[in-house]
Symmetry: C2
């Protein structure tokens, strides 16, 4: 559990090396909260690892050699009020834009597929110390109508939704999902 | 791709060592078919691995020591016609029953949670050379009303649905999901 008093400090003072990490921690903590409060079931997908060699240590299987494989999907998926959710969380190294190299082509295809099959897909992006929710529809709309290599921050403030850092949960992104998809209004 | 001519042979003649493997291959192949034919997006969750030590070989990150962690959820999840699916595939070592030790307590809780949050959960179980689909509701119903340590095969033939081994896809379990949840009839 991250202490709220240190939260803003942590988020702004963190070292370059563990950039992506803090956002991941916030999302994981939020998902644990949703799970504990019986609000939603959302999990981070484990990094797929190719296993080359295993051995046994005190009767326990231990991995002695493995290689990192590329994920073909997004980082998180799960279930919320009967809706399938699938999303990615990324921290932008630029303060003015989100480089599209952060999302691989097959991941963009996956977002397209999720929407096509009536699921909900989105990005949570941190740019210049601000967290944004950008819905999959708006992400694809940008991709499909621009040749640019990055999404400018203005697009996030115009089409996206700001996520305020808070306490329990840290980043309440389901509030935005509710708003966009009218879930809590019983529009399903 | 598994050749259909060898399929039944493979399934019955396989060695003891790779028991679960063949069923996993059939499910993976079926999921690839669903993906390719744009029917559903269903993925196997990677085995979660704790990373203890990494090194770099020719500039590539390689895992030098890792340990296997226990999955808190089921093996497969995904999206089908707007429905969230979450399931497990298991091969029974007994020819007359399915030992409940195959499903861990937290996995049973997960099945309960998925259903509670309006998702679809089920088991695909192979007993005595026959593949069965057993819906999560019927699985929980057994658990909640029995003190037995295994589900007898009769329960599968009574409450479950036989899955015939076929060609493209190998094990068309979505046909059963359609039937139970009336998805293709537009009942959603």
């Amino acid at each position: 559990m991250i202490n709220i008093n240190n939260l803003n400090n942590l988020v702004s003072n963190k070292s370059h090396g563990n950039r992506g990490m803090i956002l991941e921690d916030l999302i994981n903590e939020t998902n644990e909260y949703y799970l504990k409060k019986d609000i939603a079931l959302i999990y981070k997908k484990p990094t797929p690892i190719g296993i080359s060699k295993v051995k046994y240590e005190n009767g326990k299987k231990v991995l002695e050699k493995g290689y990192f494989k590329e994920k073909s999907t997004l980082d998180y998926n799960g279930l919320y009020e009967g809706f399938y959710l699938d999303f990615e969380a990324k921290e932008s190294l630029s303060n003015t834009a989100f480089p599209l190299s952060n999302i691989k082509t097959h991941q963009t295809n996956h977002i397209r597929n999720v929407i096509k099959h009536h699921g909900i897909s989105f990005l949570i992006v941190k740019i210049n110390k601000v967290f944004y929710y950008l819905d999959g529809h708006d992400y694809l709309d940008f991709i499909d109508h621009n040749d640019r290599k990055s999404i400018p921050i203005e697009y996030f403030s115009e089409k996206g939704y700001k996520l305020e850092l808070s306490y329990n949960p840290s980043l309440d992104y389901l509030k935005i999902v509710d708003k966009i998809y009218g879930i809590k209004d019983g529009l399903k």
